[in-house]
């Protein structure tokens, strides 16, 4: 009896939001809204609301350089925060199609309600040019939980070197802002490579941080002679042997850092984050069947023999659903994780990652990974 009274009292002392979420997530609410579910109705009035998914509303948009856009997002209640240096997968609808790309928050990890992302518009990209051109406050995007291990250890290292180039500035910006907010007093070197200062998204913020925190040494590659090397690191005021180093940027820069650190036996003190654009796989020519087919979920694989993916899956011992086997009924449609495929009806090649395809009418054009 006492337990029952306590439970009732608890319901009334819970905050209104938690109570509302409990009601919305209850089995009664589900039974009333079956089969679509509560969220499909609430979305009409509150697009960013969800009981489980992380969604965020864009609250501010800033175009600091001619190639970038900085978004301030307010995530919904399902957001669990992030550790400085991690990334999120952002999903947004571009011309009717939902696309997902990885971005690293650039804000301090201690900022609770808002997350700042910066996208650099890749000319051949689909999402970044869209965001640069069309992002506006009020838009709602989806976020994954934060992931990645490009992070600071719990016990902060005394000296930190942050090396970045181009769009790689975002995670190290988060590392820098987080350390500064914590009142870190050890030396921090911030070495950034860009075309010129006008091309640096966070030029103003960096100048302000360096002015406010004397332990932060800011150096731009375009102010220094030559390429990344010992001289540049020295200019940032850091001894690599005494510091934890974080590097993020184009492949050539990262290779240079990795090589130099390896030469000095300092691999253990270096963490690298590589941004890879979803590179379209080079499609093989129509005549020869090359590459292999990976069936990710069942852990099987097979050499591509040119047959349709449905036939190759069946030959590999799988039993995917199928129907008409001529591309009408969509029974066989499943997710292609990555790779290039050819539609045998039209000859068209598709290389987009994370795409639904009808496997009865597609053949591999190179390596393909299917989610079956």
């Amino acid at each position: 009896m006492n337990g029952h009274v306590l439970a009732c009292a608890q319901v009334f002392t819970e905050t209104p939001t938690r109570l509302v979420r409990r009601v919305l997530g209850s089995s009664l609410a589900e039974a009333l809204t079956t089969p679509h579910g509560v969220e499909r109705y609430l979305e009409i009035v509150r697009p960013a609301f969800s009981l489980r998914d992380v969604r965020a509303e864009i609250v501010a948009v800033r175009r600091a350089t001619d190639r970038s856009v900085t978004l301030t997002l307010r995530p919904n209640a399902n957001w669990q925060g992030f550790r400085a240096g991690q990334f999120v997968r952002l999903s947004v609808e571009v011309n009717g199609v939902r696309r997902t790309r990885c971005y690293s928050p650039a804000s301090s990890a201690h900022t609770q309600d808002l997350v700042e992302l910066t996208a650099h518009a890749e000319p051949s990209g689909e999402v970044s040019p869209f965001l640069r051109a069309s992002a506006r406050p009020g838009m709602v995007v989806s976020l994954s939980p934060a992931e990645g291990d490009f992070v600071l250890p719990e016990k902060r290292p005394r000296a930190v070197l942050l090396v970045s180039g181009g769009s790689g500035i975002t995670p190290v910006m988060s590392l820098l802002r987080t350390l500064c907010e914590e009142g870190h007093d050890g030396p921090i070197g911030f070495l950034h490579y860009a075309r010129d200062e006008a091309d640096v998204v966070y030029a103003d913020e960096l100048r302000a941080l360096a002015a406010r925190h004397p332990n932060v040494q800011l150096r731009y590659g375009f102010d220094l002679h030559g390429r990344f090397g010992r001289e540049h690191v020295r200019a940032a005021g850091i001894d690599p042997a005494e510091a934890e180093t974080y590097a993020c940027g184009p492949t050539r820069l990262l290779d240079a850092v990795r090589t130099m650190w390896a030469d000095h036996g300092l691999e253990e003190r270096l963490r690298v984050e590589q941004f890879t654009a979803p590179a379209p796989a080079v499609p093989a020519d129509a005549e020869t069947a090359t590459g292999s087919v990976q069936f990710a979920r069942s852990g099987r694989a097979a050499e591509n023999d040119g047959a349709t993916l449905l036939e190759q899956a069946e030959a590999a011992g799988l039993t995917p659903q199928s129907g008409c086997r001529m591309g009408i009924c969509h029974t066989c449609s499943c997710r292609k994780v990555e790779g290039a495929v050819r539609d045998i009806r039209t000859g068209e090649i598709s290389t987009a990652p994370d795409e639904l395809i009808q496997i009865c009418v597609t053949t591999p054009a190179g390596d393909v990974t299917l989610d079956i």
Binding site: L28, A31, L32, T34, P35, H36, R40, Y41, I44, E93, N95, G96, V97, R98, R99, G323, C324, M326, I328, C329, H330, T331, S333, R345, T346, E348, D354, E355, L356
Partner: protein, 382 residues
């Protein structure tokens, strides 16, 4: 069904016909984008608003105006959910959007039929074997005699009655469709094989019934019995409307059936040809098309089942033109006319024989030449 053989094309003509339709399909696919995404979102938002409004009004349905308005809104909501949204989304028409809300495999509709079974019996079986006697179970749905080539049995004297019952309880008829009860009755299939399907139908049907006939009425306090009748009526309205539209798809005067023999080794062009000749359109305004789930464009839907249905109206112009050039019929008529011919057929086929040799099939724009009747195939068992 037609009393004359379908117009024949040479294999070369069929190939050319098929290529022209393929070209239309590819063009539309390349064009899909913002416009189509925005359209389906608008329809979905409208449906959900109607549902919330309807259910809300029915909470106060002890007041007759609230009952009327609530039932009307809920009827419209169920019709949209079933037809323009459910049927079309499940065809994969919006899979290209990569949005889990409108994904053909995961969408579940507000109807007793489990979506998985609908996708099997409709997307796969019906659309692949359209109007092939013995393979397309939509010919009669296992309960009606809709073809003179279905062997007559005294059971079919009740054809009109079964049709009325099927119409009123259509969502349950559809729910049981994939079970193939007629095969279970004749021993061609075993109940033990169907256990999972039966359980799925039970689960879905129970959830739907609980929602419409128990939970919402109970929530309505004094309006309980009125909410109950309101929900019952909304389901019946949706059932009858869907029945009418669907039965106008392949049964009006002038539609053709095919045998398994003549469709063996069918080329792509021949597949398109059969889809065209087996289907019939309904003429009407834009609202009518939307409320019919664009099944008023049954021909375009059967030619292009996985293109977003709202595009069919504009494609119809091109399809008609192609049909004219190839001398093929394009069966289109008003709802009263097409459904009238379906009703006539249901009544006629209640009696033995039932084919109308002296009837001119009414098709437009190209009238069919009168040709001797094709040899009757062995009658299909009920």
């Amino acid at each position: 069904m037609s009393t004359s053989s379908p117009p024949q094309l040479t294999p070369e003509q069929l190939d050319a016909f098929g290529r022209e339709l393929d070209a239309i399909r590819e063009r539309v696919i390349a064009d899909l984008g913002e416009r189509d995404a925005a359209y389906i979102r608008r329809v979905i938002t409208t449906q959900r608003a109607l549902e919330i409004g309807g259910r809300g009004l029915l909470l106060l349905s002890i007041l007759p105006p609230a009952w009327l308005a609530g039932t009307a809104a809920l009827s419209l909501s169920k019709i949209l959910d079933n037809m323009e949204i459910g049927h079309n989304v499940m065809h994969g028409q919006y899979d290209w959007m990569n949005d889990p809300d409108v994904n053909g495999h995961s969408f579940e509709w507000d109807s007793a039929c489990p979506s998985e079974q609908w996708r099997h019996s409709h997307n796969y079986m019906h659309h692949t074997h359209t109007n092939i006697l013995g393979k397309d179970r939509d010919i009669g749905y296992g309960v009606l005699r809709m073809s003179e080539d279905q062997r007559w049995h005294p059971y079919y004297l009740g054809n009109p009655v079964y049709a009325v019952l099927l119409a009123l309880f259509f969502q349950w008829g559809v729910a049981l469709h994939d079970l193939e009860v007629e095969k279970l009755n004749t021993g061609k299939a075993r109940w033990s094989d169907k256990r999972e399907m039966v359980e799925a139908i039970w689960r879905k049907g129970r959830r739907q019934a609980l929602k419409d006939y128990a939970l919402f009425p109970l929530l309505s306090g004094p309006s309980a019995p009125f909410a109950f009748t309101g929900n019952l009526t909304a389901n019946a309205v949706r059932n009858v409307w869907a029945f009418m539209i669907i039965f106008c798809g392949h049964f009006p005067e002038g539609t053709h059936e095919f045998t398994e023999e003549e469709t063996e080794g069918e080329t792509r062009g021949a597949w398109y040809h059969r889809q065209l000749l087996g289907s019939a359109n309904l003429t009407g305004g834009q609202i009518f098309h939307i409320m019919s789930g664009n099944l008023s464009h049954q021909i375009e839907h059967h030619l292009f089942p996985d293109l977003p249905a709202h595009r069919y109206a504009e494609l119809a112009v091109e399809v008609r033109e192609i049909c004219e050039r190839y001398g093929l019929p394009y069966n289109a008529g008003s709802l009263p006319r097409q459904f009238g011919s379906v009703v006539k057929k249901i009544v006629k086929l209640a009696l033995p024989g039932g084919g109308g040799d002296d009837e001119q099939p009414a098709v437009e724009p190209t009238p069919l030449p009168r040709r001797p009747r094709a040899k009757r195939r062995e009658a299909v068992a009920a």
